[in-house]
Subunit: 307 residues, 2 copies
DNA sequence: GATGATGATTAGCACAGCTTATAGTTCATG
DNA sequence: CATGAACTATAAGCTGTGCTAATCATCATC
C-alpha cells in the first residue's frame, strides 16, 4: 500500500494525456510530442490500464476525441504535476546560471561590517532570489573547518594555514589605517610614534585583530592608551567621530562614507592582513558568483581608499 | 527546446532521490522502495546524469550520504511533484468510490422543485465535495439528446421514447393529486367531477404537465375554471394556501411539509406520469451514487405521501 | 458505397533498467 | 598497518517495456 496501484504511472503518460487533450487527436499530439501515433495510442492505453478507467471518448472517424469525467480530473492533476516539473526545470537552469540557490558563508566581525553587506547588496541586484546566510564564526579555523565539513559553502579568512583540499581565492591586502575625526590636524598619513601620546579607541584585548594591532605597536616601542574598548566596529567609529580618540582598524572594516571621520595611512605601516575566501569542494554556480563579486568589491574598496 | 533536457526525467528518479535523502543510505532506500541497492545506485546516477550535477555527497565508509545544494533544491521540487501525484492518486480513489467528481444532471421544473434538492442534499451529506450541476432543459427530448451527446451525465425524464443506447432507471410513478387549503372540507380524496365547479390554479396552457392534466379532465368531461396560471410551482402552492383555488399537481412537485395545504387523491385518478432517470454511457461512480440516492428518495416520497 | 481521416493492433527490434555478483572506497579497530 | 565492516560503483546478463512501421477497423462525409 506504499506507492499503491499507481506505481507504473510515469510522466510520459501525463504528457500524452495533456497533449491529446490539447490537440484533440492522437496523431497531432504525437507530432507535438515527437512520437508516432501508435506510440501515443499505446501510452494512453497504458494510462487507462493503470487507472483502470477510460480517459478519452473516441467517437471514431474524423471527430476529435473527448475527455471523460475521469480524464478531466486526471488532466487537472497532470497539469499540476507537469507544472511542478517545469518549475524544477526552470530553477535548475537558474541554479546553473548562478542566479538562484543558497549560500552559507562564514564571516567574522571586521568583514561582516562592510564587505559582506556590499557583496550581498550587489549580488541581490543581479540575482534577487539568492538566499545568502552569513554565519559569524569565532575564528578562522572554526569557519574553515565548517567549510571542509560542507556545512558552509565558503568562508572569509585572514590566516594562511588552509586545508590543502580547499580552494583559496585571494581578495586583497587589508592594511591597518588610523581613523581620526575629520577635523583632526594633519594630512592623509599619521605617524605611528604620535599614537603613543593620544587617546585611543580599540577592540577587546583578546580580539585577533586587536592583538595584531598591539603587536605592531609594541614592535615600534609604543604603549597605546586605550580609553574605550568595544567589539562593535560601528561603535568604535562613533567614538572617533565624537572626538574621544583615534582608532586603528583594518581598512575593509571602516565605513568610508562617514564624512565626519578621515582615514589615514600609518607611517610606518603595521604588518597588514591578507583577506581571502576559502571555498568548499564543488562550489555551486551561485557560490562562484559570490566569489566573483567579492573579488570585484574588494578591488574597488582598496582602490578607492585614500591610502 | 520543448521538454528540453529533462525529457528523460521520470518519477522513479524523484522517488529514489526522496528515499535516499530520507534513509541516508542507498541500501536502506532500496529496501523501502523494493529494489536492490544496485538499482537505486543506478537510478541516482541516472538522475545525476540528467541534471548534470552531483546530487549526493558520498563520504564513503559507514557514514550516510548527504544532499548537495542542488540535491536539496531538487528534493524540494521532488516533494512537490510526488505530492501532486499522491493527491492525484487520492482523488482517483475517491472518484472510484463515488465520493468526488462532477455531475451534470438534466432537470425540469416539476422535479427541480423538490426531488433534486432532496437528492442533492442527501448526496452532500455523504460526499460533500461532489459538484452537482443541474441544467434545466426545455423538455425531455432536449435533455435526453444532451445525455446522448455526453454533455450531461444523466437526466430526469417522464416520457418513454428513449434512446436504446441509454440506460434507463425507473424511479416511481408520479400520480397527479389535488392540492387544497388545509381547511378545505372533505377527506383525503376529492371527486374529479367536483373540480368543474371550483376555482382552480394551474400552469401555463402549453406546459407539458398542464396539458396532461387538462387532457385527463377533458376525458372526464370536465371544463376547469383557471383563475390564475403561473409556471412557478411554489407560486401555485402559495395561491392554494391563500384560498384562491385548488391545484392539480404531480405529487413529486408538491412541498408536503406545508401545513397550510392538504394533498388529496383524485377520484377517479388522472393517468399518472412515470418518472425515470436516463443515464449516459459509462456512468461514473458518483453518477451511480446519485442514481442510487434518487431511487431511495423517490421511494420514500411516494411511500410517505397520504394518497 | 467509395473516400478520407482517425484510432487500434500486431510484429519486431532496440534499449532501458533490473538482479546478481564483484570490485572499490573509506573508516574504525586491534 | 593490516583487517573487517559498511558502504557505493560497476560489470554482465537477462527480461520486459516502449518505440517504429505496417496494417486493420471504424465512422463521418460526399
Amino acid at each position: 500500500m506504499n506507492s499503491s496501484y499507481l506505481g507504473d504511472l510515469e510522466l510520459r503518460h501525463l504528457e500524452a494525456l495533456r497533449a491529446v487533450a490539447a490537440e484533440g487527436t492522437f496523431g497531432r499530439a504525437a507530432a507535438t510530442l515527437g512520437y508516432t501515433q501508435s506510440a501515443v495510442s499505446q501510452q494512453v492505453a497504458a494510462l487507462e490500464r493503470i487507472v483502470n478507467e477510460k480517459v478519452f471518448d473516441r467517437p471514431g472517424g474524423p471527430r476529435p476525441v473527448q475527455l471523460t469525467p475521469v480524464g478531466r480530473m486526471l488532466l487537472s492533476h497532470a497539469d499540476e504535476v507537469l507544472g511542478r516539473v517545469s518549475s524544477l526545470e526552470r530553477e535548475l537552469a537558474e541554479f546553473k546560471a548562478g542566479i538562484t540557490g543558497r549560500i552559507d558563508v562564514g564571516v567574522f566581525q571586521s568583514v561582516a561590517v562592510k564587505v559582506v553587506p556590499m557583496v550581498v547588496g550587489r549580488l541581490r541586484q543581479e540575482a534577487p532570489r539568492v538566499d545568502v546566510r552569513p554565519f559569524e564564526g569565532v575564528d578562522d579555523q572554526h569557519l574553515i573547518g565548517m567549510v571542509a565539513d560542507r556545512r558552509l559553502d565558503l568562508a572569509f579568512a585572514v590566516g594562511s594555514a588552509f586545508d590543502p583540499r580547499l580552494q583559496v581565492v585571494h581578495l586583497s591586502h587589508d592594511p591597518f589605517v588610523a581613523v581620526v575625526p575629520a577635523d583632526h590636524p594633519g594630512g592623509d598619513s599619521i605617524s605611528l610614534r604620535g599614537l603613543g601620546v593620544v587617546s585611543m579607541i580599540g577592540q577587546p584585548v583578546h580580539d585577533t585583530c586587536q592583538m595584531k594591532v598591539d603587536a605592531g605597536l609594541a614592535d615600534a616601542g609604543i604603549a597605546p592608551d586605550y580609553v574605550f574598548r568595544t567589539a562593535d566596529n560601528a561603535a568604535v567609529q562613533s567614538m572617533v567621530r565624537a572626538g574621544m580618540g583615534i582608532a586603528i582598524m583594518p581598512l575593509l572594516a571602516v565605513d568610508g562614507n562617514d564624512p565626519e571621520i578621515r582615514i589615514c595611512r600609518l607611517e610606518p605601516p603595521i604588518p597588514h592582513r591578507e583577506l581571502s575566501l576559502v571555498i568548499g569542494p564543488d562550489p555551486s554556480p551561485v557560490t562562484q558568483h559570490f566569489v566573483d563579486i567579492a573579488v570585484e568589491v574588494c578591488r574597488e574598496v582598496v582602490a578607492t581608499a585614500p591610502v
